[in-house]
């Protein structure tokens, strides 16, 4: 049966090639070897948080503010699903929420806000100067915009991407607002392998 054998051969080869395809990340990749700019900010209970102390863990970073009703809670709800989807591996991932509105976000408010979504979430704040340094390092745009005639006073327009720093402290990936949580989860699980 040479015909059948040949078919089997090609089929096997195709399967093998498919299996060898390198993993395609769902997020936007950064050029290889970019180390994430280190920073130290303050956690909501007052202790310092240094990014480079997180080696060995994957850090997911998002910049937002607590009076944000829609975009920030949407991302935090997704982060919660990612953390839950990780199961036992949750301890190898940190989700960090950095305020872009230190004027209104008191540490207490920030702490309560982020932990309402997931108990392990970390809220970070600092002086406007400290925060601006971090924004600049990660290309974060954040600006106060008055809301005409609104009881909310003003809103913060801000970059709403999620950034991923890998276990070796490299800035690896970022995700647009609205990226399905399964996509981020898949990338994180791949990197944890």
């Amino acid at each position: 049966m040479p015909g059948k054998m040949r078919l089997l051969f090609w089929l096997g080869l195709a399967l093998l090639l498919a299996a060898c395809q390198p993993y395609k990340f769902k997020g936007t990749e950064y050029p290889e070897g970019i180390s994430a700019e280190d920073f130290t900010l303050t956690m909501t209970e007052g202790r310092p948080f240094r990014l480079s102390d997180q080696r060995g863990k994957i850090v997911l970073m998002f910049f937002g503010f607590t009076s944000c009703p829609d975009v920030c809670p949407t991302t935090l709800a997704e982060a919660k699903r990612i953390m839950e989807g990780l199961g036992d591996e949750t301890e190898n991932v940190r989700f960090v929420f950095i305020t872009v509105d230190p004027e209104r976000d008191t540490p207490e408010q920030l702490g309560q806000y982020v932990s309402n979504f997931h108990s392990e979430n970390i809220g970070l704040t600092g002086t406007p100067e400290e925060l601006q340094t971090v924004f600049d390092a990660y290309g974060i745009y954040a600006a106060k915009v008055p809301l005409e005639g609104s009881a909310a006073g003003y809103t913060m327009e801000h970059t709403a991407r999620v950034f991923l720093v890998d276990q070796d402290g490299r800035l690896r990936l970022s995700y647009a607002f609205g990226t399905p949580d399964e996509d981020i989860l898949q990338d994180v699980q791949y990197l944890l392998r």
Binding site: P73, N116, A151
Partner: protein, 145 residues
């Protein structure tokens, strides 16, 4: 005789009442309403679908709530992944159409809540339409659609 009296004193007024109070042209309903959990003093957002089964378009002109200031907003992407939010003065609801308020898009923003919103509870909300008048509905507190 008794018949005629009944007609004059009972049926006519009823008919009249029906004519003045019924929403004349639109058939609006609000479905799948949910609202994000939040602490008292904080903000939240309400999402839902408005369905207009009528043959006339309508316009959503405002929203109100007894536990917060309610405003109509839309989240919009500016550029380079920057998200902003703009107030909406009105939202068209064309005839035979469905308009969706959803995460990352249009929402009713609840500002400065006087009570916490706890998952599992429900809160009443009112939408005001130009033709259809008030539509009152309940939104369930939960963190995901």
């Amino acid at each position: 005789m008794a018949h005629k009296k009944l007609l004059v004193y009972f049926v006519f007024p009823m008919l009249l009442a029906a004519c003045t109070s019924s929403p004349p042209h639109t058939r609006i309903s609000v479905n799948n309403a949910w609202v994000r959990p939040a602490e008292a003093g904080q903000n939240s957002a309400v999402y839902f679908q408005i369905v207009n089964e009528g043959r006339m378009g309508d316009v959503l002109v405002s929203a109100s709530s007894s536990i917060a200031t309610a405003e109509m907003h839309e989240s919009v992407e500016r550029e380079n992944g920057v998200m902003g939010m703009s107030p909406l003065s009105s939202v068209d609801v064309p005839a035979q159409s469905e308009v969706e308020f959803k995460a990352g898009g249009m929402h009713i923003m609840l500002i400065n809540l006087t009570q916490p919103l706890t998952a599992g509870n429900s809160i009443p909300l009112t939408l005001h339409f130009e033709h259809g008048g008030k539509v009152v509905f309940e939104a369930e507190v939960r963190s995901l659609p």
